[in-house]
């Protein structure tokens, strides 16, 4: 092995440890934040006993979950029952690998260790676990694997509630993956790049994609909520009707793995929203962060990225503690009858608009983005009108009958 290859591998190992360690720490923090914020929404205080502001609560919960008894139902499929939590947890963590969370860092080292030999690296290090050329496609692929974990958990438990939860989640996640994928394609069209580093770079040079892709962002938020099984789309869990759905039969650390996976997915989806539509680690109104990489820039841009991600995590939790759950037919109607046609129609509109703009010779940049933003406005208005009408709440048949009477 050449010293350069060894240096690269060493750096990769460090990034894996720091990246996933940091993510797990963030997951622990978000479990605390969810309970604390829920309390504040309900005029309570939430957990505030363990450590300052209750910040060590996740540690206490972790210890509790480790020493609790692990139960496996007598008629469960043992192998799949044990596999399922891992199959939810691992993809949720893997998703984070391709998200760049700070400006690139210049790294250079050259040293020798007694047995391993010489390690050398010189150049810019992208601050992400793996700079894959397939980028976003990797995210779409791996997030689909997460469905298996939930379906298998429901099936292997051999319990009617778990089974119903698993069944619902497979239907829900398959339906909303379509809308999620299509809303991401709008980003591909405008960025012309599938890597997330490319998407971030593009946004720095022109404008944050929230403006030219406002409609796509709305679609993405709704389908991301459904993909992570959060309220108002938490039908797989549905504690009030399915007694927590697919994790009814799980206990102790296996149960905690499901929750960790869920919160990891929540953080990843928030980070994706920040990266795809809000410029990733880009600091607005300045180009300081784009010039000449250095350590302080990496630190500051990481802070920016964390703040954006935190905002979306806050939004998720806020939505969860505000809105009631959809009924199953409403969920399916929204997915197939509203979001899917809307996404397809929007892609046509966007592609047409970009084609026209290129014909007119408008350069990619601020004006380009603003023109697309104006095109988005009527589409957003139409979506709001559709979602606000009674169709979503009552279904079309009832709506028609109401009109006739």
């Amino acid at each position: 092995m050449t010293p350069e290859l060894k240096g690269f591998l060493l750096l990769a190992a460090v990034k894996v440890v720091v990246g996933f360690g940091g993510l797990l720490l963030a997951v622990a923090f978000v479990t605390w934040l969810e309970r604390r914020q829920a309390g504040f929404h309900q005029d309570r205080l939430g957990p505030n006993r363990v450590g300052p502001f209750g910040l060590f609560q996740p540690i206490a919960d972790g210890i509790k979950n480790f020493i609790k008894e692990e139960l496996v139902p007598a008629d469960a499929d043992k192998f799949l029952f044990l596999m399922a939590p891992a199959m939810v947890f691992i993809p949720a963590l893997l998703l984070f690998a391709v998200i760049p969370f700070a400006a690139p860092l210049p790294v250079s080292f050259d040293f020798e260790l007694p047995i391993a030999g010489r390690f050398a690296y010189d150049g810019l290090m992208p601050v992400m676990v793996a700079d894959l050329p397939v980028g976003l496609l990797f995210i779409l692929a791996v997030s689909s694997i997460g469905v298996y974990g939930i379906v298998l958990a429901g099936w292997a438990s051999n319990s009617k509630y778990s089974f119903l939860g698993g069944l619902r989640s497979s239907a829900q996640m398959v339906s909303y993956e379509v809308a999620l994928g299509l809303s991401v394609i709008s980003v591909f069209i405008i960025a012309g790049d599938v890597t997330l580093t490319g998407v971030v770079e593009n946004q720095q040079q022109s404008i944050w994609y929230i403006f030219p892709l406002a409609f796509g962002f709305a679609l993405f938020v709704v389908s991301a909520l459904a993909e992570t099984n959060r309220l108002p789309f938490d039908l797989p869990e549905a504690e009030s009707e399915l007694v927590f759905g697919y994790h009814t039969e799980y206990s102790a650390m296996k149960f905690a793995m499901f929750l960790l996976g869920e919160y990891a997915a929540l953080i990843t989806m928030s980070a994706l929203m920040a990266t795809l539509f809000f410029g990733g680690w880009d600091i607005p109104f300045t180009t300081w962060d784009e010039s000449q990489p250095s350590l302080p820039k990496t630190v500051v841009t990481f802070g920016m990225f964390a703040a954006k991600t935190f905002f979306f995590v806050f939004l998720y939790i806020w939505i969860r503690w505000s809105l009631p759950r959809f009924r199953y037919d409403q969920l399916m109607a929204l997915g197939w009858k509203v979001l899917l046609p809307a996404a397809l129609g929007y892609l046509m509109l966007l592609a047409g608009a970009i084609w026209a703009l290129e014909r007119l010779g408008v350069q990619q940049g601020l004006l380009y983005g603003l023109i697309l933003f104006v095109i988005n406005l009527p589409a957003i208005y139409a979506l709001f009108w559709v979602m606000d009408s009674g169709t979503l709440v009552f279904g079309q048949q009832l709506q028609r009958r109401m009109m006739n009477e």
């Binding site: 504040f40 806020w318 505000s322 009408s389 009832l398």
Partner: protein, 168 residues
Amino acid sequence: MTIAVKVVRRPERSVSYLRASLKGMALTFNHLFRKKVTMQYPEETREDGWSISGRWRGTHRMLTDEQGRAKCVACGLCPQICPANCIKLVPGEDEEGHRYPLIYEIDEFRCVFCGYCQEVCPEEAIHVGVHYENAEFQRERFVYDLERLCAQTHPVSSLWDPADPRGE
């Protein structure tokens, strides 16, 4: 038989989803900054403007006379009426013919806190108390003997009186 569905024609305002959702989210956001109602229990207790009802029925207390002896005359009414059968009473008699309890034990685990013992007591000796902090480290400690019952100092319950239903 078909299920009859009654379709209620609602005004547009109440069938909207997004506007209603946004309104709800604005409300929950406002609640973030409201004053919290949580009472931080071990630090804040009822001295800080919160109290339990005077008719609360908690762990028992035996009243004593001027000489510090239990008022109980071992008549045996309370073990008789107790629906949970948690009172153990062995009566004794001194040389002047006064009856007194040799053993008087209440198993607070068995007790259902109905307050019948207080109601039935002719001497107003045994009472249920306005008290709720009963934690112990050993199970045996929950069988209160006579000495312990007499040593309790918490206020006694004023049971519901049909003649004075509001407790005035």
